[in-house]
Protein backbone atom coordinates (compact mmCIF):
# COMPACT_ATOMS: atom_id res chain seq x y z
CA UNK A 1 0.00 0.00 0.00
CA UNK A 2 1.77 3.10 -1.23
CA UNK A 3 1.12 6.46 0.32
CA UNK A 4 1.43 9.52 -1.85
CA UNK A 5 2.66 12.94 -0.81
CA UNK A 6 -0.34 14.93 0.30
CA UNK A 7 -1.26 18.48 1.08
CA UNK A 8 -0.38 19.66 4.57
CA UNK A 9 -3.49 21.83 4.54
CA UNK A 10 -5.67 18.81 3.79
CA UNK A 11 -4.06 16.91 6.65
CA UNK A 12 -4.48 19.85 9.00
CA UNK A 13 -8.10 20.18 7.97
CA UNK A 14 -8.74 16.49 8.51
CA UNK A 15 -7.05 16.63 11.91
CA UNK A 16 -9.22 19.60 12.82
CA UNK A 17 -12.39 17.66 11.98
CA UNK A 18 -11.51 15.06 14.60
CA UNK A 19 -11.57 17.65 17.39
CA UNK A 20 -14.68 18.67 19.29
CA UNK A 21 -16.17 21.94 18.10
CA UNK A 22 -17.02 23.09 21.61
CA UNK A 23 -15.42 22.53 25.00
CA UNK A 24 -16.02 18.96 26.12
CA UNK A 25 -15.58 17.01 29.30
CA UNK A 26 -15.02 13.30 28.91
CA UNK A 27 -15.26 10.92 31.87
CA UNK A 28 -13.66 7.53 31.52
CA UNK A 29 -12.50 4.42 33.32
CA UNK A 30 -8.95 3.33 32.64
CA UNK A 31 -6.84 0.26 33.09
CA UNK A 32 -3.08 -0.04 32.78
CA UNK A 33 -0.96 -3.14 32.92
CA UNK A 34 2.55 -4.20 32.19
CA UNK A 35 4.49 -7.21 33.34
CA UNK A 36 5.01 -5.74 36.82
CA UNK A 37 1.85 -3.84 37.70
CA UNK A 38 -1.86 -3.58 37.05
CA UNK A 39 -3.73 -0.39 37.85
CA UNK A 40 -7.25 0.77 37.23
CA UNK A 41 -9.05 3.97 37.97
CA UNK A 42 -11.10 6.78 36.61
CA UNK A 43 -10.30 10.00 34.87
CA UNK A 44 -11.59 13.06 33.13
CA UNK A 45 -10.35 14.95 30.15
CA UNK A 46 -11.40 18.51 29.56
CA UNK A 47 -10.81 19.74 26.06
CA UNK A 48 -10.78 23.37 25.05
CA UNK A 49 -10.54 23.30 21.25
CA UNK A 50 -8.50 23.55 19.23
CA UNK A 51 -5.43 22.45 21.14
CA UNK A 52 -5.75 22.44 24.92
CA UNK A 53 -6.51 19.51 27.14
CA UNK A 54 -6.46 18.84 30.87
CA UNK A 55 -6.12 15.21 31.90
CA UNK A 56 -7.08 14.21 35.46
CA UNK A 57 -6.80 10.69 36.79
CA UNK A 58 -7.47 8.89 40.03
CA UNK A 59 -5.86 5.61 40.92
CA UNK A 60 -7.40 2.40 42.22
CA UNK A 61 -9.87 2.88 45.10
CA UNK A 62 -9.34 6.59 44.83
CA UNK A 63 -5.73 6.24 45.97
CA UNK A 64 -3.52 8.81 44.37
CA UNK A 65 -4.44 11.32 41.74
CA UNK A 66 -2.73 13.54 39.28
CA UNK A 67 -3.29 15.88 36.40
CA UNK A 68 -1.62 17.40 33.40
CA UNK A 69 -2.30 20.17 30.96
CA UNK A 70 -1.36 19.69 27.35
CA UNK A 71 -1.22 22.32 24.68
CA UNK A 72 -0.96 20.86 21.22
CA UNK A 73 1.90 18.33 21.48
CA UNK A 74 3.55 19.79 24.58
CA UNK A 75 2.99 19.02 28.23
CA UNK A 76 2.54 22.42 29.89
CA UNK A 77 2.66 20.82 33.31
CA UNK A 78 2.11 17.42 34.87
CA UNK A 79 1.75 16.77 38.56
CA UNK A 80 3.12 14.37 39.64
CA UNK A 81 5.32 14.48 36.57
CA UNK A 82 6.67 10.94 36.83
CA UNK A 83 3.26 9.29 37.20
CA UNK A 84 1.90 11.11 34.19
CA UNK A 85 4.91 10.22 32.03
CA UNK A 86 4.54 6.54 32.84
CA UNK A 87 0.82 6.65 32.12
CA UNK A 88 1.09 8.78 28.99
CA UNK A 89 4.47 8.36 27.31
CA UNK A 90 3.42 10.06 24.07
CA UNK A 91 1.13 13.05 23.81
CA UNK A 92 -0.12 12.39 20.25
CA UNK A 93 -1.22 8.92 21.40
CA UNK A 94 -3.24 10.50 24.20
CA UNK A 95 -5.11 12.65 21.69
CA UNK A 96 -5.55 9.60 19.49
CA UNK A 97 -6.95 7.59 22.40
CA UNK A 98 -9.83 10.05 22.47
CA UNK A 99 -10.31 9.80 18.72
CA UNK A 100 -8.54 13.06 17.99
CA UNK A 101 -5.58 13.92 15.83
CA UNK A 102 -3.09 16.73 16.13
CA UNK A 103 -2.14 18.57 12.96
CA UNK A 104 1.21 17.54 11.46
CA UNK A 105 4.33 19.15 12.90
CA UNK A 106 5.89 21.90 10.79
CA UNK A 107 8.85 19.71 9.85
CA UNK A 108 6.77 16.63 9.08
CA UNK A 109 6.41 15.18 5.62
CA UNK A 110 2.75 14.51 4.95
CA UNK A 111 1.54 11.50 3.00
CA UNK A 112 -1.92 10.11 2.61
CA UNK A 113 -4.45 8.10 0.68
CA UNK A 114 -8.08 7.03 0.71
CA UNK A 115 -9.16 3.41 0.93
CA UNK A 116 -12.48 2.31 -0.48
CA UNK A 117 -14.00 -0.53 1.52
CA UNK A 118 -16.42 -2.76 -0.33
CA UNK A 119 -18.18 -3.63 2.93
CA UNK A 120 -18.83 -0.11 4.13
CA UNK A 121 -20.07 2.96 2.30
CA UNK A 122 -17.47 5.16 3.94
CA UNK A 123 -13.98 5.76 2.71
CA UNK A 124 -11.15 5.12 5.07
CA UNK A 125 -8.38 7.66 5.34
CA UNK A 126 -4.72 6.92 5.82
CA UNK A 127 -2.30 9.63 6.87
CA UNK A 128 1.38 9.57 7.67
CA UNK A 129 3.14 12.46 9.40
CA UNK A 130 6.85 11.68 9.15
CA UNK A 131 9.43 13.69 11.05
CA UNK A 132 13.15 12.92 11.03
CA UNK A 133 12.85 10.60 14.04
CA UNK A 134 9.14 10.20 14.75
CA UNK A 135 6.50 8.89 12.41
CA UNK A 136 2.81 8.90 13.14
CA UNK A 137 0.45 6.82 11.03
CA UNK A 138 -3.30 7.19 11.26
CA UNK A 139 -6.04 5.06 9.78
CA UNK A 140 -9.48 6.58 10.22
CA UNK A 141 -12.70 4.74 9.56
CA UNK A 142 -15.36 7.42 10.03
CA UNK A 143 -18.77 6.66 11.52
CA UNK A 144 -21.23 5.91 8.74
CA UNK A 145 -24.85 6.47 7.91
CA UNK A 146 -25.70 2.89 8.84
CA UNK A 147 -25.38 3.96 12.48
CA UNK A 148 -22.09 2.27 12.93
CA UNK A 149 -19.37 3.91 14.93
CA UNK A 150 -15.93 4.54 13.57
CA UNK A 151 -12.37 3.74 14.49
CA UNK A 152 -9.14 5.68 14.66
CA UNK A 153 -6.01 3.58 14.60
CA UNK A 154 -2.69 5.24 15.30
CA UNK A 155 0.87 4.03 15.28
CA UNK A 156 3.91 5.87 16.54
CA UNK A 157 7.35 4.79 15.38
CA UNK A 158 10.61 6.24 16.60
CA UNK A 159 13.69 5.65 14.47
CA UNK A 160 11.76 2.94 12.69
CA UNK A 161 10.74 1.05 15.80
CA UNK A 162 7.13 0.91 16.86
CA UNK A 163 6.69 2.63 20.23
CA UNK A 164 2.93 2.61 20.55
CA UNK A 165 -0.15 1.56 18.70
CA UNK A 166 -3.71 2.54 19.51
CA UNK A 167 -7.22 1.58 18.52
CA UNK A 168 -9.92 4.08 19.42
CA UNK A 169 -13.57 3.44 18.77
CA UNK A 170 -15.83 6.42 18.29
CA UNK A 171 -19.61 6.37 18.38
CA UNK A 172 -21.94 7.52 15.63
CA UNK A 173 -21.47 11.12 16.73
CA UNK A 174 -17.69 10.64 16.49
CA UNK A 175 -17.40 10.89 20.26
CA UNK A 176 -14.79 8.61 21.83
CA UNK A 177 -16.11 5.33 23.22
CA UNK A 178 -13.26 2.95 23.99
CA UNK A 179 -9.54 2.85 23.34
CA UNK A 180 -6.56 0.63 23.76
CA UNK A 181 -2.91 1.62 23.47
CA UNK A 182 -0.17 -0.98 23.35
CA UNK A 183 3.45 -0.17 24.17
CA UNK A 184 5.48 -3.08 22.83
CA UNK A 185 8.84 -1.61 23.84
CA UNK A 186 8.02 -1.71 27.54
CA UNK A 187 9.49 -4.91 28.94
CA UNK A 188 6.87 -7.61 28.54
CA UNK A 189 4.59 -5.12 26.78
CA UNK A 190 2.30 -2.58 28.38
CA UNK A 191 -1.31 -1.79 27.66
CA UNK A 192 -3.50 1.18 28.54
CA UNK A 193 -7.24 0.86 28.02
CA UNK A 194 -10.02 3.32 28.58
CA UNK A 195 -13.79 3.24 28.39
CA UNK A 196 -15.69 6.50 28.14
CA UNK A 197 -18.63 6.74 30.54
CA UNK A 198 -19.81 10.27 29.79
CA UNK A 199 -19.32 12.97 27.19
CA UNK A 200 -20.47 16.37 28.39
CA UNK A 201 -20.52 19.54 26.33
CA UNK A 202 -22.39 21.65 28.88
CA UNK A 203 -19.45 22.21 31.17
CA UNK A 204 -17.93 25.61 31.77
CA UNK A 205 -14.26 25.31 32.65
CA UNK A 206 -12.80 27.37 35.47
CA UNK A 207 -9.72 29.31 34.35
CA UNK A 208 -7.77 27.83 37.31
CA UNK A 209 -7.74 24.35 35.77
CA UNK A 210 -5.10 25.36 33.25
CA UNK A 211 -2.67 26.74 35.80
CA UNK A 212 0.05 24.86 37.60
CA UNK A 213 0.85 25.33 41.26
CA UNK A 214 4.45 24.37 40.99
Amino acid sequence: MALAPASRDSAAHWAHTTLPRAPALIRFRWHYQDERVKYAGRGTVRIAPPDTLRFDYVGPLGLGSGAAVIIADSVLWADPEKDFRSLVPAVPMLWAAFGMVRRPADDAAVLGMQLVDSLRPTRRLVWRFAQPEDTLDYLMTPPDSARRGGMLEAEWRQRGKMVARSWSRVDTLAHPATARIDFPQVAGGARFELTVVAYDTAQVFAPAIWRSRR
Binding site: R42, V58, G62, S65, A206, A208, S212, R213
Partner: protein
Protein backbone atom coordinates in the same frame (compact mmCIF):
# COMPACT_ATOMS: atom_id res chain seq x y z
CA UNK B 1 -32.26 12.26 79.48
CA UNK B 2 -32.79 12.67 75.84
CA UNK B 3 -31.82 9.18 74.78
CA UNK B 4 -35.33 8.22 73.77
CA UNK B 5 -36.56 11.42 72.24
CA UNK B 6 -33.66 13.24 70.65
CA UNK B 7 -34.02 13.44 66.90
CA UNK B 8 -30.27 13.76 66.48
CA UNK B 9 -27.26 12.07 67.94
CA UNK B 10 -25.08 9.20 66.94
CA UNK B 11 -27.17 6.28 65.89
CA UNK B 12 -24.92 4.65 63.32
CA UNK B 13 -27.85 4.85 60.95
CA UNK B 14 -27.91 5.63 57.29
CA UNK B 15 -29.57 8.03 54.93
CA UNK B 16 -33.15 7.06 54.12
CA UNK B 17 -33.20 3.94 51.91
CA UNK B 18 -29.46 4.20 51.40
CA UNK B 19 -27.12 1.57 52.72
CA UNK B 20 -24.45 1.50 50.05
CA UNK B 21 -22.75 4.32 48.18
CA UNK B 22 -20.36 4.68 45.26
CA UNK B 23 -18.01 7.61 45.46
CA UNK B 24 -17.22 9.10 42.09
CA UNK B 25 -13.95 11.00 41.74
CA UNK B 26 -14.68 14.66 42.18
CA UNK B 27 -14.11 16.98 39.27
CA UNK B 28 -11.18 19.15 40.11
CA UNK B 29 -11.35 22.77 39.06
CA UNK B 30 -8.16 23.68 40.89
CA UNK B 31 -4.47 23.56 39.97
CA UNK B 32 -3.88 21.05 42.81
CA UNK B 33 -4.39 17.58 41.33
CA UNK B 34 -3.88 15.69 44.60
CA UNK B 35 -7.10 17.14 45.95
CA UNK B 36 -9.12 14.79 43.77
CA UNK B 37 -7.97 11.80 45.81
CA UNK B 38 -7.79 13.62 49.13
CA UNK B 39 -11.34 14.96 48.92
CA UNK B 40 -12.65 11.56 47.78
CA UNK B 41 -10.90 10.03 50.77
CA UNK B 42 -12.48 12.56 53.12
CA UNK B 43 -15.90 11.84 51.66
CA UNK B 44 -15.29 8.12 52.08
CA UNK B 45 -14.32 8.64 55.72
CA UNK B 46 -17.50 10.60 56.33
CA UNK B 47 -19.82 8.15 54.67
CA UNK B 48 -18.21 4.86 55.57
CA UNK B 49 -16.48 5.61 58.85
CA UNK B 50 -18.95 8.04 60.37
CA UNK B 51 -22.32 7.42 58.76
CA UNK B 52 -22.00 3.65 58.53
CA UNK B 53 -22.64 3.37 54.80
CA UNK B 54 -20.90 0.70 52.78
CA UNK B 55 -18.90 1.65 49.74
CA UNK B 56 -19.98 -0.28 46.65
CA UNK B 57 -19.53 -0.13 42.93
CA UNK B 58 -21.43 2.39 40.88
CA UNK B 59 -23.52 -0.37 39.31
CA UNK B 60 -24.75 -1.82 42.61
CA UNK B 61 -24.77 1.09 45.06
CA UNK B 62 -28.02 2.54 46.39
CA UNK B 63 -26.58 6.00 46.02
CA UNK B 64 -23.72 7.74 44.33
CA UNK B 65 -21.74 10.65 45.67
CA UNK B 66 -20.41 13.11 43.18
CA UNK B 67 -19.06 16.57 43.33
CA UNK B 68 -16.50 19.10 42.37
CA UNK B 69 -13.55 20.74 44.04
CA UNK B 70 -14.39 24.28 43.07
CA UNK B 71 -11.59 26.26 44.61
CA UNK B 72 -8.38 25.85 46.54
CA UNK B 73 -6.63 28.77 48.20
CA UNK B 74 -3.45 27.43 49.75
CA UNK B 75 -2.04 30.47 51.48
CA UNK B 76 -4.57 32.88 52.89
CA UNK B 77 -2.76 35.03 55.52
CA UNK B 78 -4.15 34.66 59.05
CA UNK B 79 -1.63 36.33 61.36
CA UNK B 80 0.90 38.92 60.42
CA UNK B 81 3.90 40.06 62.43
CA UNK B 82 4.65 43.66 61.67
CA UNK B 83 8.29 44.59 61.18
CA UNK B 84 10.30 47.50 59.93
CA UNK B 85 9.66 47.86 56.24
CA UNK B 86 8.10 44.45 55.96
CA UNK B 87 5.53 42.17 57.53
CA UNK B 88 5.90 38.45 58.12
CA UNK B 89 2.95 36.12 57.82
CA UNK B 90 3.18 33.80 60.81
CA UNK B 91 0.03 31.83 60.19
CA UNK B 92 -1.83 31.00 57.04
CA UNK B 93 -4.81 28.90 56.15
CA UNK B 94 -5.91 26.79 53.26
CA UNK B 95 -9.44 27.12 52.05
CA UNK B 96 -11.21 24.45 50.04
CA UNK B 97 -14.60 24.94 48.44
CA UNK B 98 -16.49 21.89 47.20
CA UNK B 99 -19.86 21.02 45.73
CA UNK B 100 -21.21 17.67 46.96
CA UNK B 101 -24.32 15.73 46.06
CA UNK B 102 -25.61 12.35 47.18
CA UNK B 103 -28.04 10.92 44.65
CA UNK B 104 -30.32 7.98 45.37
CA UNK B 105 -29.82 5.87 42.26
CA UNK B 106 -32.88 3.70 42.83
CA UNK B 107 -35.29 6.59 43.20
CA UNK B 108 -33.46 9.07 41.03
CA UNK B 109 -33.64 11.70 43.74
CA UNK B 110 -31.09 13.93 45.35
CA UNK B 111 -30.69 12.85 48.97
CA UNK B 112 -28.39 15.64 49.99
CA UNK B 113 -26.73 18.44 48.14
CA UNK B 114 -24.47 21.24 49.20
CA UNK B 115 -22.93 23.77 46.87
CA UNK B 116 -20.08 26.03 47.87
CA UNK B 117 -19.27 24.05 51.00
CA UNK B 118 -16.27 25.91 52.37
CA UNK B 119 -13.76 24.51 54.84
CA UNK B 120 -10.42 25.84 55.97
CA UNK B 121 -7.45 24.85 58.06
CA UNK B 122 -4.71 26.90 59.68
CA UNK B 123 -1.05 26.08 59.32
CA UNK B 124 2.33 27.45 60.22
CA UNK B 125 4.12 28.29 56.98
CA UNK B 126 5.36 26.38 55.09
CA UNK B 127 3.43 23.35 56.37
CA UNK B 128 0.54 23.67 53.95
CA UNK B 129 -0.19 19.97 54.26
CA UNK B 130 -1.17 20.49 57.92
CA UNK B 131 -3.72 23.08 56.89
CA UNK B 132 -5.06 20.80 54.23
CA UNK B 133 -5.49 17.96 56.71
CA UNK B 134 -7.36 20.25 59.09
CA UNK B 135 -9.59 21.50 56.27
CA UNK B 136 -10.36 17.98 55.08
CA UNK B 137 -11.21 16.93 58.66
CA UNK B 138 -13.71 19.79 58.74
CA UNK B 139 -15.08 18.64 55.42
CA UNK B 140 -15.70 15.17 56.89
CA UNK B 141 -17.53 16.75 59.83
CA UNK B 142 -19.61 19.03 57.63
CA UNK B 143 -20.71 16.16 55.44
CA UNK B 144 -21.65 14.10 58.50
CA UNK B 145 -23.56 17.01 60.05
CA UNK B 146 -25.26 17.86 56.81
CA UNK B 147 -26.28 14.31 56.01
CA UNK B 148 -27.53 13.68 59.56
CA UNK B 149 -29.66 16.80 59.43
CA UNK B 150 -31.66 15.13 56.66
CA UNK B 151 -32.69 12.16 58.82
Amino acid sequence: MCLGGCPYGFQGGTLPNVKTVAIMPFDNDTPEPRLTAEVSDAVRQALEGRLGLRVATEATADAIVRGRVVRYDPDVPQSVLAGVGQATVTKRKVQIIVDVEIVNQREGTSVWKRQGLSVDGDYDPPNEQDGRKAALAKLVQQIVDGAQSQW
